[in-house]
């Protein structure tokens, strides 16, 4: 065995099953990557009849892809900003004081993720219709922010709990006022938790499709664009290229968020 270990050897069947599950989880990604280079533009023939780089150029020159990408990036940026502010405020409140209904806060924040996605979507849609509000950029942002807040909240609250109060008390004892303590002690302490939570919130928003379908109207975010290609494909190889691009784009923040928090007990992303 390449690793030094004092563990007993795993039964062969168990190792095989574990390996199989890992393979099952990751194999589709390599398939996507392979198809981005295929010369076949009518079907999904395997093995690909030939390989080409042509589709990357075609995808690059597609204005609808760029529009969808821009909209998704804008929505995700603003939704992440809102989530950072609201999530941090809620985490600070829950951490520093005990109050009536404190346990309900976590429950309320996690509800949009725990309930089936269509519930949040159709709820927002019914509110828009009841008050005769039009779809807009902001209706998408509101939909995304509702489920992004909890990611930031969980990360920041876990960080607060881990660091404890002693540094804050020391700062106050040494004469710093509340804002100085916030600026010099609390913010540096939770900075990586904010960064990790923010990146996960961004990834969550960037990829969201179920709630967005109900709040976007005619606007196309990138996931909605991909979904429309799934049901009514226009140029299959372009979709393959966009898919590879999206994988690359979402993998980076996740790996980074994991690195930022891996040495702590609250590894980011455990509770999507």
């Amino acid at each position: 065995m390449p690793f030094k270990s004092n563990h007993p050897r795993a039964p062969f069947g168990l190792s095989l099953a574990a390996l199989g599950v890992i393979f099952f989880l990751h194999c589709p990604f390599s398939i996507i990557l392979l198809y981005a280079f295929t010369t076949d533009d009518r079907a999904f023939t395997f093995p690909p009849p030939g390989l080409t780089l042509e589709w990357f150029g075609v995808a690059w020159n597609r204005p609808d892809v760029w529009r969808a990408l821009t909209l998704s990036a804008q929505v995700a940026t603003i939704a992440t900003g809102v989530a950072l502010i609201l999530g941090t405020l809620a985490a600070a409140a829950v951490y520093r004081s005990r109050f009536f209904g404190r346990d309900a806060i976590s429950f309320l924040l996690v509800l949009p993720l725990a309930l089936p996605g269509i519930v949040t979507g159709i709820a927002l849609r019914s509110a828009l219709s009841l008050f005769d509000l039009p779809f807009s950029f902001w209706t998408i942002v509101i939909g995304h922010a509702t489920f992004c807040v909890v990611v930031v909240y969980n990360n920041v609250l876990a960080r607060f709990r881990r660091t404890g109060r002693s540094q804050i008390e020391a700062s106050m004892d040494l004469g710093a006022n509340g804002f100085q303590t916030l600026r010099h002690i609390i913010l540096p302490e939770i900075a990586t938790a904010l960064l990790a939570g923010g990146m996960l919130a961004f990834a969550l928003s960037f990829d969201e499709v179920i709630v967005t379908t109900f709040t976007a109207g005619q606007q196309q975010t990138l996931p909605i664009w991909i979904f429309s290609q799934l049901t009514r494909p226009r140029q299959r190889p372009v979709t393959n290229v966009v898919a590879v691009f999206v994988i690359a784009l979402t993998t980076i923040p996740i790996l980074w968020a994991y690195r930022l928090t891996r040495d702590t007990s609250e590894t980011a992303g455990g509770g999507k």
Binding site: M1, S5, H7, R9, A10, A17, A18, V21, I22, F24, L25, H26, F29, I32, T45, F46, P47, I85, G87, L89, A90, A93, S97, A114, L115, P116, G117, I118, V119, T120, I122, A123, S126, A127, S129, A145, T146, M172, G175, N177, F179, D207, I210, T213, P223, I226, F227, L230, T239, V246, I247, T250, T251, I254, L255, Y258, T267, G269, G270, K272
Partner: protein
């Protein structure tokens, strides 16, 4: 940093009051009013959630008691149970049963697949391999959901890799037999319940692995050793010690797999045949026909099911396992 002690109850000297900045005074002001500070912290998130989220949920409930006028195609805003009467038709109940059945099948299969991996990672994986395994579960969980669904369109396609592999092994008859089965079969894997089931399991599997992993990590080693010392054979230790302790983790994971499958309309639209699932029904009622009341009433079914599910899960201790 100022040397004046901003925390002293009352600044006694006039000088101290003069030198304090606005920030200092505000800080002191808030320090003595923790309730106000709490309100300032809690206010924005609570207001946002109260208005936008709970408010929307309330309108959902209200809309489910309105009805759509069939002739004008407009929503009639007066209290009626007519929409609920429309909901409980055999056709709609078929949709509910189909969706719940799929969610249950996906949940059980995900648990069966998740357990060996989690068990291996916790009990047998060398220390250097553990973080890699964890990351190997985390990455699919967070990477694009739609792209992962899309990838299965490539894999399951008639001319795709699965068919290719089956024909390479001369097992085409097996695939054809599978597809000719009633209910689960179809013209090809991309338009069959079987294909949809595979994709659902694939998509939600990481949500099941992580809670089981966490629950296994928390099983105290001493209990396993005690069981062994008392003569328990490995299987009995697993059956009577490990499994009961890990079960809340399985239930916690099942909340996600069940709820997510029930509320999904992407996978059924991308891979299914024409038989509807709850998510698709809700989407189509609110979309083309503009029948938001019926869509709202339809949504009450997954909400009710999830409420019962969550209460049961709480009984079984699943929330402590999250």
């Amino acid at each position: 940093m100022q040397t004046t002690n901003s925390l002293s109850p009352t600044p006694t000297t006039g000088e101290a009051t003069r030198t304090t900045s606005f920030g200092q005074r505000l800080s002191t002001f808030l320090y003595f009013r923790p309730t106000l500070l709490l309100l300032l912290l809690l206010g924005p998130p609570l207001l946002a959630y109260g208005i936008f989220y709970l408010g929307s949920l309330a309108t959902l409930l209200i809309q489910s008691f309105f009805r759509l006028d069939d002739f004008t195609g407009r929503v009639v805003r007066e209290f009626t149970l007519a929409t609920y009467a429309d909901l409980f038709t055999p056709a709609n109940m078929d949709i509910v049963i189909r969706t719940v059945g799929m969610a249950a099948a996906v949940t059980v299969t995900a648990a069966l697949l998740a357990f060996p991996l989690a068990y291996y990672a916790v009990r047998y994986a060398p220390a250097q391999l553990k973080p890699l395994l964890y990351l190997a579960v985390l990455l699919p969980l967070w990477s694009s959901y739609l792209v992962r669904v899309y990838s299965w369109r490539l894999i399951l396609a008639k001319e795709g890799i699965i068919s290719w592999a089956f024909s390479l092994l001369n097992l085409n008859w097996l695939l054809d037999d599978l597809l000719s089965l009633p209910v689960v079969g179809g013209p090809s894997l991309t338009v069959s319940m079987l294909g949809m089931f595979i994709v659902f399991v694939y998509i939600w599997l990481p949500y099941m692995i992580l809670p089981i992993y966490a629950a296994l990590e928390r099983v105290p080693k001493s209990l396993l050793e005690a069981s062994g010392d008392l003569g328990g054979r490995p299987f009995h230790t697993f059956r009577w010690i490990t499994l009961p302790l890990v079960f809340p983790g399985v239930v916690a994971g099942s909340i996600f797999t069940f709820s997510l499958t029930m509320g999904d309309f992407i996978v059924p639209s991308a891979l299914g045949n024409s038989s509807f699932f709850i998510g698709q029904a809700v989407l189509s009622h609110q979309g083309t026909s503009g029948n938001i009341p019926l869509a709202a009433a339809f949504t009450m079914i997954p909400i009710a099911i999830m409420a019962v599910y969550l209460l049961t899960a709480k009984r079984l201790g699943a929330f402590d396992a999250l």
